[in-house]
């Protein structure tokens, strides 16, 4: 790996200042470090967020589960509060990558990285979450902009994410066995943000399957999705699956997620 400067930051303000000056933020590093090893990311400086206490912690209050950005997937999966309030979210966290990855990877890191096949973006969009940063609140519908691209500014870091507690929610991942990412993953929910169907792994970034949402809005059941189809146009195609294959998976997984 190429040489870089390293700072273990002790505050959000300090990390933000360093990021504004060009440093790359590192959370759990489970995506960033492999990218650096392969030379796809070549930061001159890394700012580690691990020691910033205010980025940790999980609270359930006023119909919202608020999770600190540096909470690991393992912590979210094991949280009794999350399991009680939004079991589908704990289920999703507990199926990210593998156990070792879940012990390091974080919620904030996953959202900021915006991998097109990552799991958490589906939960954020599928629950209508609000992403809190050091300077503003961003609704999930406005957050994901493209392949590994979000609306975050250079000096901006995610501090926490608020997930509204739904009446019902479900998550289904069709795992790409080698990478353990989603070949296609679908998060569905019915709650304060309406009926939402978020799809990851199938395009350049997570998106809502509005056609499926309309069907579920009048009848939130697997039966409502019978015969539903999603157009393959614009979906990803690679050696693991064609766009048509991914399109075919979406309504199937959505129906299973509805239960």
């Amino acid at each position: 790996m190429q040489a870089f400067n390293y700072l273990a930051s002790s505050s959000v303000a300090e990390a933000s200042k360093a990021a504004a000056a060009g440093a790359k933020l590192i959370a759990g590093g489970q995506s960033l470090l492999p990218m650096m090893r392969l030379g796809f990311a070549l930061p001159e400086s890394l700012v580690d967020l691990a020691l910033i206490a205010e980025l940790k912690g999980i609270q359930v209050k006023g119909g919202v589960v608020r999770i600190g950005a540096m909470s690991t997937h393992a912590e979210v999966a094991a949280s009794t509060e999350v399991k009680k309030a939004i079991p589908a979210l704990a289920d999703l966290a507990g199926k990210i990558g593998d156990r070792q990855v879940r012990n390091r990877g974080t919620l904030g890191g996953s959202l900021a990285n915006a991998d097109p096949a990552a799991c958490y973006p589906a939960a954020a969009l599928g629950l209508g979450a609000t992403i809190h940063t050091n300077s503003r609140d961003i609704v999930a519908d406005d957050f994901f902009k493209g392949l590994y691209e979000t609306t975050l500014m250079d000096d901006e870091l995610i501090t926490a994410v608020s997930f509204p507690i739904p009446e019902k929610a479900g998550w289904q991942k069709f795992k790409q066995a080698a990478s353990r990412f989603a070949l296609v993953g679908v998060f569905v929910s019915k709650g304060p943000k309406g009926v939402r169907v978020a799809v990851t792994g199938a395009a350049g970034h997570v998106f809502r399957a509005t056609h499926l949402e309309q069907r579920l809005a009048t009848n939130y059941s697997a039966a409502a999705l019978e015969g539903a189809s999603v157009p393959a146009k614009g979906l990803s195609s690679d050696l693991h699956g064609s766009a048509e294959y991914r399109a075919a998976l979406i309504p199937v997984l959505a129906a299973r997620a509805v239960g």
Binding site: M1, G29, Q30, R37, L38, D48, D98, Q100, V101, N103
Partner: protein, 162 residues
């Protein structure tokens, strides 16, 4: 620029000046000479480099040594008792012959210890899924799964009698 770090490795305090780009596995195998932790893929896929950081299984090729500052590390060398008696999970892998070439074994054992400690072994399907961060390219995993169950039973007996 080198950073000065202090960490606990297998119960021993270690101080080290280290370049930030050094991975934790490079520190363990290099300066500390703990070559029981293996490097398989070096890209966080195979799990051969699995160690415990504050008791949790982590791939040491996918963590910087500087990120281990102030943390407590356990490697395969830290599992046996001081008199050399194998840890119950090591003994189970030996008894069940949960290995062929043995290259993945240190990572398998460390991962299994974390599994038993924090999640438990409830069914074969659950254990197989929970061990999916560790890849063995020799065997069919039959003996590995058997070893994890036997090791879990021995670890739990040990905890109850303690």
């Amino acid at each position: 620029m080198a950073k000065s770090i202090t960490l606990n490795v297998n119960g021993r305090s270690v101080e080290q000046d280290i370049a930030p780009q050094t991975t934790l596995v490079e520190l363990l195998r290099g300066a500390l000479g703990l070559t029981g932790t293996h490097v398989g893929c070096d890209t966080a896929q195979c799990g051969a480099c699995t160690i415990l950081v504050d008791g949790r299984a982590v791939k040491s090729c996918n963590m910087l040594a500087v990120q281990a500052n102030g943390r407590s590390i356990t490697t395969i060398e830290g599992l046996p008792t001081p008199d050399g008696s194998l840890h119950p999970m090591q003994a189970a892998f030996k008894d069940c012959h949960g290995l062929q070439c043995g290259f993945c074994t240190p990572g398998m054992v460390m991962s299994a210890v974390d599994l038993v400690t924090h999640h438990g072994c409830h069914s074969e399907a659950q254990v197989r899924e929970a061990m999916d961060g560790n890849i063995c390219r020799c065997t069919g995993y039959q003996s590995i799964v058997k070893a994890v169950f036997q090791g879990a039973a021995a670890m739990n007996t040990l905890v109850r009698s303690a």
